[in-house]
Amino acid sequence: MKEQLQKDFDNSIKNLSLSQKDIEIKKFCLNNFIDKGFPNRKEEDWKFSDLNQIIKKNIGELSFYNDQASTNKVDTSVFVDGLEHNKIVFINGRIEKIDFEYEKKDQIEIIDQSETINEFKNSNSLSDLNNAFTNKCFKILVKKGYQLVKPLIIYHTTNSKIWSKNINLRLNFELDKDSSLRLIDLFNDTSQKNFLNIFYNFEIKENAVLKNYKVDKFENKNIKYSFNNIDQDKNSISETFILSSGSNFSKNEITCNLNGVYASAFVNGVFSLNNEKHHEIRSIINHLTENTKSYQLIKSVLDENSKAVYQGKIFVNSDAQKTDGYQLSKAILLNKDSEFNAKPELEIYADDVKCSHGSASGSLNEDSIFYLMSRGLSYQQSRELLINGFLLDVVEKITDSEIKNLIKNMIGIKE
């Protein structure tokens, strides 16, 4: 893999106009990645999902070079109907379109950031890979007091014209004071067996609100890793919803740093898996100052040899008195070969806190099925009704009604 990395790296550097300093940084990151390789099960954070093995088994050798010069045709058929929205379109890892047609142009700034230095906490070798190969890094700045009228949908599309086996994406967002953004990530993959490595960084200033909905619904054979780093100031709110269903393997990692008082973070997730899929959500909520709040709810329905993993951590710093942290994960195993692993973790250094977690996994409740069948439903109908209700609970947590309905329609959950 080393030669391939080196070769592809040299190729991609050639096509970019970078300063010497940037090249040095990229080289440094590349060497870091070459040293460490893909994360494997020996690393605590990857204990349940050995990415190195998964890539080896599903893709084999990777290639990394993407020709960013040639444009891809934007396929408008993937766009969401019935909801007016702003768009960013990624096709095969290249930004093809940035369109804020519904917004005041002077309130949103799109900054091309050349600096690639990575300063995430909890970074791993994948962030090095990302740094080494991302070609363009945009920062989207929502200015003070501006609240986007329409949601922003980021389309992640891959198709058969893809150049390499690996795509690295990077976006930064800054929400200035009193601003708000609703962001939907929509994955649409027709390519086969690629590794997507996505990094988002959010800075949420005082009183700002971020709502991020990640929807990976369409069946595909790709392997995805997505990392969200969210830094929150006083009184800010972040809401993250993850629908984890379509890809062969997917790991969503979310780090929330609650830096300001009264900041709150919500992470909700649904795993709906079948067909030997293996998905993971890992969340780290860092309560760094007093009076912060976090709430997490993850539900899984697992069929046909699928495997879901939830690793959630609530960290409470010694200054973070009056923290309120809650975390619940529930799983229904439908098939005897399905598997649910959880590691709900609490690390607490302050005494005046209220933190709890719960985790439960098991089969569908036979009594409930009996109840429904005795009222005239078939076994299949009862089963569907119960699963529907089980998942609806999480979808109902979405605070934006427009998007809630959109997601309900997408995944076919009835009220």
């Binding site: 005897k336 649910f340 959880a342 973790e345 933190c355 098991g362």
Partner: protein, 480 residues
């Protein structure tokens, strides 16, 4: 303040902190094959036992000390320890208590474990382990009548080699982790219990561990076998003198329950926790593992962990037999600079297996406490259930409480439920108690005892009273 006064003051905090001035035989300092041969030789062990030790030592040489645990500690120099230390008077085994060194008798009397016949605790048979040897076992005759074997493991190696050979290392193999393997190589003494088929052990069996010599590691090994349809309740108590340096205690405990057998293992661990500034104290790195080998068997661990500078242990159950049951009840209290990383592992292999985990952690002062546990239901363990509850109580804002459960469910017909909470003692509760005339310390004691009640109830009567007092004492000075 003169030294004597200081000592008295210290003893107030930890009343078992005295040391016994006694002449010792020690193995040469350090860890090598000669030392292992020395231990084996002095215990007059058969060749297969020495082989077992040397095999373990071979394996130990390639192992690395683990470092994933939460409490970090300075590197232990394994060559700077004595691996065997025994009172000189024990060299030629005294045949009866009358021949036993009065100093030893006095020590145990001071610890509240009288060994002489007239003062023995009723209904509890005691095996007293002093540094590396077992000095006395009480009620031996009564037990023998029922066919129960309760003796030091070094004696069992001589007298019951077939049992020891069959079961030693069957739950904790010589190829296990670092500290367990070290123990397999150098273990000195401990208790051996065999309950024959269909026998319900008429009294509590108990071992009292005492570390006395300085710079000595204690490596005891306990092996308990409950044959078909038998029952035994076993208690373990431990204390050590106050010394400024840290001492290592790395024991291995193996439990084997055959068909329909039940083992109840209770520990009240009160090793010297170090002084208020975190100086000294025992490193308690113990491997405890029970195997529910037969169907319908049951193993239940109860632990009250109040001592040790660092406690690092996970009493586990391997539920191999169908319908077997594993239980874990724990109270862990850390104060001052104590650290604990403890919990359990429940490994479900058989059908219809059940496990229950109740863990209560209390941290005060500048201490740090971690619950770390694993519940693993394998794909063959149909219809299994687990219930876990771990609650932590924080007292003061310099301490930490952490919960790290690993939950693996590979069977769709099995259910796992896990709950954990972390909080502090509520002002309302304190206020209520104080209003009714309790001082703050008593109020905290009362609330904490209530918090721990579910676990304390699991202890045998005699221990429960002691443990309840211990809970109060351990938290002294942590209020306000």
């Amino acid at each position: 303040m003169d030294n004597r006064q200081k000592e008295i003051n210290n003893l107030k905090d930890y009343k078992y902190g005295f040391s016994t001035d006694i002449e010792n035989i020690q193995a040469p300092k350090g860890l090598n094959e000669d030392v292992i041969k020395f231990i084996s030789n002095i215990k007059k062990e058969p060749a297969w036992m020495l082989e077992f030790r040397l095999k373990s030592f071979e394996r130990f040489k390639v192992l690395k000390e683990p470092d994933w645990q939460k409490p970090k500690f300075p590197k232990i120099d394994y060559q700077d320890l004595y691996y065997y230390s025994a009172p000189k008077s024990m060299k030629d085994k005294p045949k009866s208590l009358d021949e036993l060194d009065p100093k030893l008798l006095e020590t145990y009397k001071k610890l509240g474990i009288p060994l002489q016949e007239q003062a023995r605790l009723n209904g509890i048979a005691v095996d007293a382990v002093f540094d590396s040897v077992s000095v006395a076992t009480t009620f031996k005759d009564e037990l023998t009548k029922q066919g129960i074997i309760f003796c030091p493991i070094s004696e069992a190696i001589q007298n019951h080699p077939e049992l020891v050979k069959k079961y030693l290392g069957s739950v904790i193999p010589t190829s296990d982790h670092f500290f367990a393997t070290l123990n397999s190589a150098v273990f000195t003494d401990g208790s051996f219990v065999y309950i024959p088929e269909g026998v319900r052990c008429p009294m509590e069996l108990s071992t009292y561990f005492r570390i006395n010599a300085s710079n000595t590691g204690q490596f005891e090994r306990t092996l308990i076998i409950a044959d078909k349809g038998s029952y035994v309740s076993y208690l373990e108590g431990c204390t050590a003198p106050m010394r400024d340096e840290n001492q290592l205690h790395a024991a291995n405990v193996e439990l084997i329950a055959l068909d329909d057998a039940e083992i109840k293992y209770s520990t009240v661990q009160n090793w010297y926790p170090g002084d208020k500034d975190g100086k000294g104290g025992i490193y308690n790195f113990v491997t405890k593992r029970g195997l529910c080998k037969g169907k319908n068997s049951k193993i239940s661990w109860t632990q009250v962990e109040t001592g040790s500078a660092i406690t690092w242990k996970y009493p586990s159950c391997i539920l191999k037999g169908d319908n077997s049951v594993g239980e874990f009840y724990s109270i862990a209290i850390t104060n001052n600079h104590q650290k604990a990383d403890t919990g359990t592992k429940m490994i479900h292999l058989g059908k219809n297996t059940k496990s229950k985990i109740i863990s209560k952690g209390i941290s005060a002062g500048s201490s740090d406490m971690t619950y770390r546990g694993l519940v693993d239901i394998s794909s063959k363990a149909k219809n299994s259930t687990n219930y876990t509850q771990c609650d932590s109580l924080l007292m003061g804002n310099k301490c930490g409480a952490h919960t790290v459960p690993y939950i693996k469910n590979k069977n769709s017909e099995s259910n796992i439920a896990h709950e954990a909470t972390t909080s502090k003692i509520s002002e309302e509760q304190l206020h209520y108690c104080q209003q009714r005339g309790l001082n703050p310390e008593e109020a905290v004691g009362l609330i904490v005892n209530g918090f721990c009640k579910e676990v304390l109830q699991q202890l045998p009567m005699e221990f429960a009273v002691e443990a309840q007092k211990l809970v109060g004492i351990s938290l002294e000075g942590s209020v306000g």
